[in-house]
């Protein structure tokens, strides 16, 4: 069943199109990822889907309900972790969740149980009565995910859920997120500009300047940029290259004293290579295409390039400015 369905969605701010005729579907229970550089339009699409923005044209449906016209049905069906924290730092973790439970009319008989379960699920039960102000970035993120699940939504939106976390907490959060579809029967829609993170998705759409420029499973996308590349160092490159050409009919060339071979199934190719010319091989390594290569091929630029220098530094400066001022 299609849980999210978007048809020719367009959003203009003034005459700038932040989102331009975007269409896609997400199956129930899938992890769907939006991959794109800063300013690509990811958050704008999420804001339309979660009924905060009205589209300029086009349609968006969640669970069969029109995001623009049937707002309250859509709101009941979704949970969201926004790009910027939306917790009340002057309340405790438990109070934040309680607020949410009342807001979503969670029945009194299950309210406390659900909140306790959610806190345990994200490993914050021991800190339940601490002010959110005292939490680390990773703890806040986990708390937001827990909050988003309290009312048992059908779809969970995660807008750059790992933003500002260290690699260790990012990995932990991902491990946790990938368990959600099974544990909570929820469809996940996430955005990121980290290539590695997009790999966990069942399906990805790559978006740039408000347009989807490619979509498919991670492996499908990677196939579009060709197969694996095997790099060999040998004690006689000339002879090795000739042997490989004769024996395998593969495309071989040399660069910087290293032979490289493009092939569809690198993993199966290496043992055969070693069997035939193993004597002369000094080292071997293989590179699989990454989503970064996909993005590079589609747009001619690296996804990180677009980010602009020190972008994250600026965001963290703004954050600390805010946290200094949010008491007065």
């Amino acid at each position: 069943m299609k849980m999210i369905s978007v048809e020719k969605l367009t959003k203009k701010f003034g005459n700038m199109s932040a989102v331009n005729e975007v269409s896609f579907d997400v199956e129930e229970g899938a992890i769907f990822g939006f991959l794109g550089p800063n300013g690509a339009g990811k958050t704008t699409i999420i804001n339309i889907l979660c009924t905060l923005l009205a589209p300029t044209s086009g349609k968006a449906f969640i669970n069969g309900f029109d995001c623009d016209r049937e707002s309250s049905r859509v709101r009941q069906a979704i949970g969201i972790v926004f790009q910027d924290s939306s917790l009340d730092k002057d309340l405790t973790a438990r109070e934040n969740l309680t607020f949410h439970a009342y807001l979503y009319n969670v029945e009194k008989s299950v309210r406390k149980q659900r909140i306790d379960d959610a806190l345990r699920f994200v490993d914050l039960f021991d800190r339940a009565d601490d002010m959110v102000r005292k939490f680390s970035g990773g703890m806040k993120r986990r708390l937001e995910v827990a909050r988003g699940l309290i009312h048992r939504p059908r779809v969970l939106f995660l807008d750059e859920p790992t933003l500002g976390l260290d690699p260790q907490s990012r990995a932990n959060l991902w491990e946790f997120i990938t368990t959600l579809p099974k544990q909570h029967k929820v469809t996940i829609f996430m955005t990121t500009h980290y290539m590695e993170e997009a790999e966990v998705c069942d399906k990805i759409a790559i978006i740039d300047k408000g347009k989807i420029i490619a979509s498919g499973t991670p492996s499908e996308l990677k196939k579009t940029v060709g197969g694996d590349v095997i790099y060999l160092r040998t004690n006689d490159n000339k002879k090795a290259m000739e042997d490989i050409r004769n024996l395998f009919e593969l495309d071989v060339s040399e660069k910087d004293g290293e032979i490289f071979i493009s092939t569809v199934r690198g993993d199966a190719c290496i043992p055969a290579l070693i069997r035939e010319i193993g004597e002369s091989v000094l080292s071997v390594r293989m590179q699989r295409p990454t989503l970064n290569d996909v993005f590079l091929r589609l747009t001619g630029k690296e996804i990180r390039d677009v980010e602009g220098p020190g972008h994250d530094d600026i965001k963290s400066m703004v954050r600390s400015y805010r946290s200094r001022h949010d008491r007065d």
Binding site: T51, L52, R75, S86, E95, T98, Y102, L103, H325
Partner: protein
């Protein structure tokens, strides 16, 4: 559509934060108390009493009005903070009507302001007033109605602003003039015609006037109320309905 659970939890959140921030309570109470004793006490030497009412007693209803005005507006302006720090999004994506959100915020302002008004009211013996129980109940009820109205007005203002830089603009250009043109410090009937006209558009005027009606029921001279109690109450009620409905509509806007 009114969602009682949502309204309850919005009020509970504000109340909890109010109780926790004792320093804010002290600072919002300091202003009216200083005004009462420093300005009221000083001016009493200059302004002769009218009838049985001294100047410090005359401004007492105005000082209660001031307490209600500042704390209601301040409470509503917290919406701007909520927008700035993202919490507003949590409320706006919930399956709750905008109208309930506005009512919840207005009731929050009402509860917090009424508590403060009651604290200021407790000073009445110090300035030589004698009140019976009905008068005390009347002051509390008027304070509650007035703070609901002013809190809704504050929400209306807050829906036009996105960041807290606008806070001082609101305070200096809207709240302070509202206070001075409310009959709090001097009777509306003594104002020049132009200012009198503005005063009559100010909802606070009727709140302060209602309090004067209750506190000085038998006064007829300069220091007496300007309108009748029933006119005051009628206008406060109409204004609150008007502001809540408009604020609800403004909240409904999507970009």
């Amino acid at each position: 559509m009114i969602e009682t659970n949502a309204i309850y939890v919005i009020v509970a959140r504000e109340f909890k934060k109010f109780i926790r921030e004792r320093s804010r309570l002290v600072s919002t109470l300091a202003r009216p108390i200083l005004w009462l004793f420093l300005i009221g006490g000083g001016m009493s030497r200059l302004v002769p009493a009218g009838g049985n009412v001294s100047y410090i007693q005359f401004i007492f209803p105005g000082i209660i009005g001031m307490t209600v005005l500042f704390s209601s507006i301040f409470s509503s302006i917290s919406i701007i903070w909520d927008k700035e720090f993202g919490f507003m999004k949590e409320i706006l994506v919930a399956p709750v009507s905008r109208f309930s959100v506005v009512v919840g915020k207005a009731i929050s302002g009402m509860v917090i302001s009424t508590i403060q008004a009651v604290i200021v009211l407790c000073l009445f013996p110090v300035i030589g007033l004698r009140l019976d129980v009905m008068q005390v109940v009347g002051v509390v009820l008027i304070s509650a109605a007035l703070s609901f109205t002013l809190a809704s007005f504050g929400i209306l203002l807050a829906s036009f602003y996105e960041s807290y830089e606008s806070f001082s603009v609101i305070m200096n250009f809207i709240v302070m003039p509202m206070f001075f043109l409310s009959g709090a410090m001097y009777p509306v009937k003594l104002l020049p015609d132009a200012l009198k006209a503005v005063s009559k558009l100010n909802p606070l005027t009727y709140g302060v006037d209602a309090l004067k009606n209750i506190l000085f029921p038998y006064e007829t001279g300069r220091m007496a109320a300007d309108f009748s109690l029933s006119v005051d109450i009628l206008i406060i009620v109409i204004a609150s309905v008007f502001f809540v409905l408009i604020a609800g509509k403004l909240f409904e806007r999507k970009q």
